[in-house]
């Protein structure tokens, strides 16, 4: 019993949600948001996709990417801290750069952002893998 409306909605929802999550991630330092929340939002989107197309199917489709996300996410978070070590500062010391844009504005780049991206990826990967493990297995394929 599968709703084609749900299928269509899910297919449309995933990219939109991911975009929204990335927005939440980037603005996190100043407004509500951040890597953790963004990660959970993305997970929620993946779950909805999973509910529509079968969790096992979704996780299998994303399997490689998710493992990579876990490794990259955790690695990125540690590396963000190690930048400071390379510079001779205590681990996790953060640096901020302001790249001027044409006009009046500027882009705020920082090592905290790298850290937060690591958090984002790790959260997506671990929650989804866990769900995949518990929901997957010999489930029927769509």
């Amino acid at each position: 019993m599968r709703s084609y409306i749900l299928l269509a909605a899910a297919r449309a929802l995933l990219p939109v949600t991911v975009l929204f999550a990335i927005y939440m991630l980037l603005r996190g330092h100043n407004e509500p948001g951040g890597g953790f929340i963004a990660g959970l939002v993305t997970t929620a989107a993946i779950i909805i996709e999973g509910l529509a197309f079968g969790v096992a199917h979704t996780v299998r489709r994303l399997g490689r990417i998710l493992t990579a996300f876990l490794v990259i996410g955790l690695g990125l978070a540690v590396l963000a801290g190690l930048i400071a070590v390379a510079a001779g500062d205590p681990f996790l010391t953060n640096y901020h750069w302001h790249m001027p844009l044409p006009g009046d504005g500027y882009v705020h780049l920082s090592t905290t952002l790298i850290f937060d991206i690591g958090v984002y990826l790790a959260v997506i990967a671990s929650t989804t893998v866990a769900i995949g493990v518990f929901a997957g297995g010999e489930e029927e394929t769509p």
Partner: protein, 511 residues
């Protein structure tokens, strides 16, 4: 250079990440795992050298002052624990290769989890922040949950469930305790909390929170009456996991007690002392009696962990430099010897196919070196000279009688004999007798298992003969620990950015 304090944790975390990526290449995974473990040991030596000279190394993570961010601290106690934890876990790692059956799918998961567990353990030793300690407890715990159920036999999952349950309840209580502490003193930095205790009148909720924190530490250490999660869960875990847990996990609990009790009491023990003496003595006795009643190699050895934790805590409870030094010596010795015993027993188990007593006999004839390693560790565990355990027991006895704690000290002595009896129970049924059962491990490579086991037995011998210098450093560590001020001052003078620097820094920041 203070980043060295975080090095053991960072190296093991990065190694774990790399090993996760290499999950489908067991050969490379193994090499990376062992090579980076050597690096870990090197970093531990780097911490050990300055701290044993009395230095307190403080790392203000993110360059934030202790009042703002998280501080990591390596003093003698932390460095010693890190060093011995890493030495034994390296040997377990080498040993572990022989303990897995071909194609049981456990091996590939063991290496990453091993390094994650180490990150949790070392982080717990090095952090100077109660909440951060909670986080590293969680790392350790999650890794241990995964490791203890490796292989996932139904009986195994059944018996490890109490382990998971008790530790989750413990985590919740710990969080509650830390919350109460933060709510009432406004900081979770251990040194700042210690200072606050010495300078302020603190409310009831604070002390209740401290009580909960100590309770959870006691649970991790497996003290009476909170030990029951340990004796069933450990023997059912894979051999290498059992060895690793025996050497590391309950010692983290012991470490946290050694770390926090002086900080909390500021040198005046009072009520806590009475509680610790009673609990320590009771734990020793109940633990050894429980062990005597068991009938499997690793069943007996695992129950013994409980008993020996009682010794360590008793050393802390007496609260004189000599007693604390003896307790520390005993802890270090126990890390080495307990691991050696489980590893030697594990070889016999691999040969016999079961850890139950009576399945295999006469190992002393077929594998004399395995027997020698087991025997040395066994008599060392019972506290017989000239092996490592003797010094811990001897100085504990001296300090205990000096402090007038006759009953508890005598219990400690008698428990030594009961320990010996239970070790002989294993020795007589497994190592002596006419050989029977399998002569060679059913699977795996016994050489790779034997050498690390012998190294541990060798350390037990060296620690026995070289008791002098080790006791000397134990005294240095113990005196600094009980003095409290070196640690607290070290942290408070660590620098880093705090709100006080705001005005001075404002000009520099506004660009």
């Amino acid at each position: 250079m203070m980043n060295l304090v975080a090095a053991p944790v960072l190296i093991s975390l990065m190694t774990a990440v790399v090993l996760l990526a290499l999950n489908h290449r067991p050969g490379t995974q193994r090499i990376v795992s062992i090579v980076s473990h050597l690096l870990l040991v090197a970093s531990a030596v780097g911490l050990l050298v300055p701290t044993l000279a009395g230095e307190v190394l403080v790392l203000t993570l993110g360059n934030w002052a202790p009042s703002v961010g998280i501080t990591w601290v390596a003093d003698g106690l932390s460095a010693v624990m890190v060093f011995f934890a890493l030495i034994t876990s390296l040997l377990v790692l080498i040993y572990s290769e022989g303990t897995f059956d071909e194609g049981d799918g456990v091996r590939n998961y063991f290496h990453p989890l091993h390094h994650l567990l180490l990150a949790g353990v070392c982080g717990s030793f090095l952090t100077g922040d109660f909440f951060n300690l909670f986080v590293f407890f969680e790392i350790m715990l999650l890794a241990s949950f995964a490791m203890i159920s490796l292989g996932a036999r139904p009986r195994q999952l059944n018996l490890t469930f109490p382990y998971v349950l008790v530790n989750l309840v413990g985590s919740t209580l710990l969080l509650g305790g830390i919350g109460a502490v933060y709510g009432t003193v406004g900081t979770v930095n251990m040194a700042e909390v210690s200072l606050a205790i010495q300078t302020q009148e603190l409310p009831a909720a604070f002390w209740a929170g401290v009580g909960l924190i100590l309770l959870v530490f006691a649970t991790k250490a497996a003290l009476l009456p909170l030990f029951f999660w340990l004796p069933d869960a450990y023997p059912i875990a894979p051999i290498a996991v059992n060895a690793l847990f025996a050497s590391l996990l309950s010692k983290v609990g012991v470490y946290t007690l050694f770390r926090s009790v002086p900080l909390i009491t500021g040198g005046e023990v009072g009520v806590i002392q009475a509680v610790l003496v009673v609990v320590g003595a009771a734990t020793m006795l109940i633990g050894v009696l429980g062990a005597l009643g068991r009938s499997g190699i690793r069943d007996i050895l695992s129950f013994h962990i409980v008993s020996q934790v009682g010794y360590m805590v008793f050393g802390l409870a007496v609260f004189t430099p000599l007693a604390v030094a003896a307790g520390l010596f005993y802890t270090v010795h126990n890390i080495i010897v307990k691991t050696g015993l489980i590893m030697a027993g594990g070889i016999a188990e691999r040969m016999g196919g079961s850890q139950k007593l009576g399945v295999i006999k006469g190992v002393a004839r077929t594998h004399p070196w395995v027997a020698a390693a087991f025997f040395i560790c066994a008599v060392a565990l019972a506290g017989l000279p000239p092996f490592s355990g003797f010094w811990g027991k001897f100085f504990l006895a001296v300090a205990g009688y000096q402090a007038g704690m006759y009953a508890a000290t005598t219990i400690a002595i008698v428990v030594g004999l009961l320990t010996l009896s239970s070790m002989l129970k294993i020795w007589l049924s497994v190592f002596w007798g006419e050989p029977s059962g399998n002569k060679e491990p059913a699977f795996g490579n016994s050489k790779g298992m034997l050498v690390p086991t012998l190294v541990l037995a060798g350390i037990a011998v060296v620690m026995g003969f070289g008791g002098g210098p080790i006791m000397h450093y134990s005294m240095v560590v113990a005196e600094n620990l009980l003095a409290v001020t070196p640690y607290v001052d070290g942290v408070m003078q660590a620098g880093g950015i705090s709100a006080d620097d705001l005005a001075a820094l404002r000009e520099g920041v506004e660009r």
